[in-house]
Amino acid sequence: MLLNPLTYHSPKTALEAAQLYSNLPEARILAGGTFLLNNLKQLKKKGLKTPRNIISLKHIEELKGIVANKEKLIIKSMTVINDVFNSPHLTDNFSVLRTVCRNISTNPIRNMATVGGNLTSRYTWTELGAVLIALEADMHFTGPDGKEEIISVEDFLKNNARSSTIFTHVSIKKNKEHSFAYQRIRKLSYIDVPMLAVCVRTTFKGDRFTDTHAVMNNCVNFAQRDLVLEEFLNKSSRRNGVAEEALNHLDTKIYDIRGDDYKKAVFRVSIKNAIKDLINQKEKNDHPDH
């Protein structure tokens, strides 16, 4: 027996799920199961307490799918990673999501893991946080009274998890001017153990970087913006050496993790590559024939 006995609940609506979550003692939400069930197995192995109630969201149809209109993209919380990867709606600034999803774990996991689980499981090494901060995405929750609460992904990761609410969807505004670069490094080549991720977004006005977001995921803390790097880039233009110079303008506390010099070095290479990638994208756009 891999898991301790539990009571399984299968609500059919988000409101019903929120009410169950609010009323049941020792309840946990089951989305794709790729974090939770492994976590419960580990707790059982260690002889630690596991929740008595599991509320599965897998049968709530209103929480599945991707919708796009002229202004924004809505990804519902129970949409699995491979459905995001394969979505025809990932155009313009949303296309960075395809790169991110491509790099998440393994194919069966991508068939099971959900956007909601990735964001709300509160593991520091999950992938979507960094890119959704760069995309300035909002998370929408519904409570047991049916009221909607909206919070930015950045604030959600900075603050404590919502209680008694169900994450229903993420909304992202469309922006054709933003360019994105995403770098992700894993610790091992044969099993996906993320080490770090870097997502840099900018809008080039002429040669100048503007409206830059530089989001770092050091996998020890939640993804966060490097405001020092952003300020430097927003005062810079795409010239030779800017990527190297940017490395002198980092908020060092983000990268100073457990005295890991190797990781700090990999971060520097990844940031440099991300900035060069943005410059290359701009040059390709300006000179498509070269």
Binding site: M1, L2, L3, T34, L37, I109, M112
Partner: protein, 155 residues
């Protein structure tokens, strides 16, 4: 009793909320072709198809897949006739110790059901969750190409 639809056959099972699909397949229904290995979603040995997608039965609650179309390795052959993927694995010597092969074949089948002519990148994408400790990947990729050709000819 709850009904699970496995390999197009209905099974009446007394399901408990905490039982994984892997446990139910192997321990309650004796469908032992699906292998138990890491039990923490790393190795892919327990891969089955649910609604034609490759998923890991070790991190799937059996009660969560009631009403879904579950396919295990036992459901591929048609009597004495092997499924094209199974036949291709045999023809290309793609199994070494063979322990990972049921999971590997289920991932291949899910891929080829949607795309009979996958390129190398698509094959690697589909199989990146199945670990072969004998490292026999090249012959497995050869088998996928052959099975895809065979399946395309029969569409």
């Amino acid at each position: 009793m709850t009904t699970l639809i496995i390999n197009k056959k209905e099974y009446e099972v007394n399901l408990l909320g905490h039982e994984t699909l892997l446990e139910v397949l192997r321990d309650k229904l004796s469908l032992t072709g699906t292998k138990t290995s890491c039990q923490e979603s790393e190795c892919g040995a327990c891969t089955v198809n649910i609604d034609k997608k490759a998923i890991l039965s070790c991190i799937t609650l059996a009660v969560d897949v009631v009403g879904k179309e579950i396919t295990t390795i036992e459901g591929l052959a048609d009597g004495e006739n092997l499924h094209p993927v199974q036949q291709a694995f045999l023809d290309h010597g793609s199994a070494q110790c063979g322990f990972c092969i049921p999971g590997m074949i289920m991932s291949c089948k899910a891929l080829l059901d949607n795309n009979q002519k996958p390129n190398q990148e698509e094959m690697e994408y589909a199989l990146d969750g199945n670990i072969c400790r004998c490292t026999g990947y090249l012959k497995i990729f050869n088998a996928i190409r052959a099975a895809g050709t065979q399946m395309k000819a029969h569409v």
